[in-house]
Amino acid sequence: MRAIYLIARREFLSYVATWGFWLSLLSVPMFMALGFGLPMLIESSQPTRYYVLVDETGGRLEAAVYDQIDRSREEEVERRRDVATQMLGDNPQFQAALESSIQLEDDRYVRIDAGTTDLEALRPYLTGASELDTQDGAQPLFAAIYLSEPAPGDVRIDYWSNNLTDSGLRSQIRNALRDQMQLQRLVEAGVDPALIAEADNLAPTVRELNPERSADAAEVTEGDRLPIFVGVATAFGLWIVIFSVVNMLLSAMIEEKGNKVLEMMLASARHHEILVGKLLGVAAVSATLLVFWGGLASMAGLGAQQVMSAADIPAADILAALFSPGLILPAIGYFIIGYLMYGALFLAIGSLCETIQDAQSLMSPMMLVMMVPLFLVMMAIDAPDSPIVTVASWVPLWTPFIMLVRLPQDIGLVDIVGTTMTMIAMAFAVIWGAGVLFRMGALNQANQDTVRGWFKLGGKKKAAN
């Protein structure tokens, strides 16, 4: 035990002393901050686009365009208000804050009076040779739009702009006129405009119900779906953590073998003590990362939950579901067993290799094995009962990832217990086998060619049979 502790401690301290560890530690809060802040930053950093609109019909099309744009804006604001009410409840303070902060993407297109409607006069502003005086200072003209109707019902938009990629304004004008043209045609055909508006709003009401619940509590809510999404997110998170950690193990093992430290270690500790010590040391590193990240997320989540509960906001229940033991405990268990399996395998691979280049040839099949659950997890979201997903969840190397997605979907106890027991048995077998390989590799009695030889031998035996 002394040797295991000392080796684990040395491994832990050697990782913690690296820049990479601290970058990893801070990467999640940094990405979280970026994830929240970047879209807002991008939104706020979008430049205001100034344009000139010329209606050659005398104002009829222009009025139709702006009527339609105003209506669309109102509808979007109403939609956002509804979503906020669902999430945050009918809280006047939040509603007021929301109203003041609503900023639609189309609001960045601002019509300007350039003092002329002549295209040739506007051309220097469009090409950037000259600039217009705007509320943001001197700016080039983003677009000049000419609306005309050469024949009744034949509405044309001439859209002059140097910018080929920002199509928001063009779509806004086109959609507004299209809706107006369709409405006008229906009115001309004798349809009552009120009836058209009523028809636009017609849609069935869908109630999604869970047959396992009593009638009064049967309705399925977003909160019911949340564990599935959390399961998927946890499975991906688990995959990323295991993948990062086993790569740390692999490169450390190769470095140690290259430094020729192992034989001296073997005179002080047995090979299984070195193997377990290394696994525990790196596990402590990843646990430190997870505890720090999880702690940050929990503090933020629980803080938000308390605020929401105090304000009687429905989203508090959703946050409570996120931190339920039913999700967290299996995730911890699958992480430990998954880490031990993959960690032992990668340590064994590392012990067979002198360089990272050596390792790459043995890593390729392992990478394929590790990639499969990513695809299966996606499949399991829609079809947790698919035969492929069910069978794959019994493959011990994939069980930790796929079962995290299947668990919230009411699968049978046989599947849960069976896959878990198979996975634990496999973990022991892998650790034992990795120990044998590690022992051979550490003393240079085996290398990547040896492993290739085993496969060739297996192939020959099959061929002989």
């Binding site: 002394r2 040797a3 000392l6 080796i7 040395r10 050697s14 002393a17 140690e256 290259g258 430094n259 020729k260 430290v261 034989e263 001296m264 270690m265 073997l266 005179a267 002080s268 500790a269 047995r270 003393l443 009695q445």
Partner: protein
């Protein structure tokens, strides 16, 4: 307290159907310096690994401190492997403390001893330096300190002199002598006979995985025929004069004709000189040759060992 520190009894090991060690038996007794000699690939490293339990023998028994090589026994052993290396990113003193703690020494004692030994090795000023900043020779010294810092009763050194320059080889010989004077038992492998001849109380010769000799250096030297090199002014044939004292053969040395007398049992160089003087032979050279372990090695194993200069290229 048993006098036998290490005993191998009929130990064999085979790799991929190639025998590395066959039916090897040897004993290392307390307080002795034992040399484990043999050419490259003779099975020395495999035998040492089996002695420490790093490798399990296919057959035979290994006894370390009277029992199997368990962790408790390993704590009493200091092992310097042939393939040397230490954690390059760690500080020198931390490496020494780490290996001492693996052997059961507490941190404070390990640190104190490590600093003292660094001072003895002239490395006190690099205690807080990263290993990767040191020269290869300095790093080897650090590894020797890491091998000895827990004050082991039994020290095993696998090819300790390889890779060291002559000055450091001499310094390491001093270290070995000092450890022996402190009562430690030492077993070291080498294929360079000169080190063994200078240091060892006992040697074990191994070739092609089998033991070829086990005894003291003088016993090994006794296996070498004693010789006398002669040159005469008239190149007279001395065979008939010395027929009762040994066999005589002619050899060429730097273009000169010399005669080599291999002394028979019971005869010595003085007898040869007396016989030649009595016959009034005009001697220009009379050189009794001192037997060397290298000659014993060739005699016992049948292939030449390496000289220190040759070993430097290994």
């Amino acid at each position: 307290m048993t006098d036998t520190i290490l005993a191998l009894d009929g130990v064999s090991k085979t790799f991929k159907s190639k025998p590395a060690v066959t039916d090897l038996s040897l004993e290392v007794r307390r307080g002795q310096i034992t040399g484990f000699l043999g050419p490259n690939g003779a099975g020395k490293t495999t035998s040492l690994r089996m002695s420490l339990g790093i490798l399990a023998p296919d057959s035979g028994q290994v006894s370390l401190f009277g029992g199997p090589p368990r962790a408790s026994a390993l704590d009493r052993v200091g092992f310097l492997p042939e393939e040397r290396g230490i954690y390059r990113k760690m500080k020198v003193i931390d490496v020494i403390v780490f290996f001492a703690r693996l052997k059961g020494v507490d941190t404070a004692t390990a640190r104190q001893r490590g600093l003292v030994m660094l001072d003895e090795f002239g490395l006190a000023d690099v205690a807080d330096a990263k290993v990767k900043t040191l020269s290869k020779g300095m790093a080897q010294k650090i590894q020797i300190i890491a091998t000895l810092v827990h004050e082991p009763e039994f020290i095993i050194l696998d090819e300790p002199f390889s890779g060291l320059d002559p000055v450091n080889q001499s310094a390491l010989e001093q270290v070995v002598r000092k450890q022996a004077q402190a009562g430690r038992t030492i077993l070291f492998s080498t294929h360079v006979m000169e080190h063994a001849e200078r240091l060892c109380d006992k040697i074990v010769l191994i070739a092609k995985g089998r033991k070829a000799f086990d005894g003291t250096v003088s016993e090994a030297l006794a296996r070498v025929p004693r010789r006398v090199l002669l040159e005469t002014a008239d190149c007279a044939d001395l065979g008939s004069i010395l027929s009762g004292l040994g066999s005589v053969r002619r050899e060429s040395e730097d273009g000169r004709d010399i005669q080599v007398v291999e002394l028979a049992a019971g005869a010595d160089a003085q007898d040869v000189l007396k016989a030649l003087v009595a016959k009034d032979v005009k001697l220009t050279r009379f050189e009794p040759v001192r037997a060397q372990l290298h000659d014993a090695f060739v005699q016992l194993v049948g292939s030449p060992a390496e000289t220190p200069a040759q070993s430097e290229t290994v």
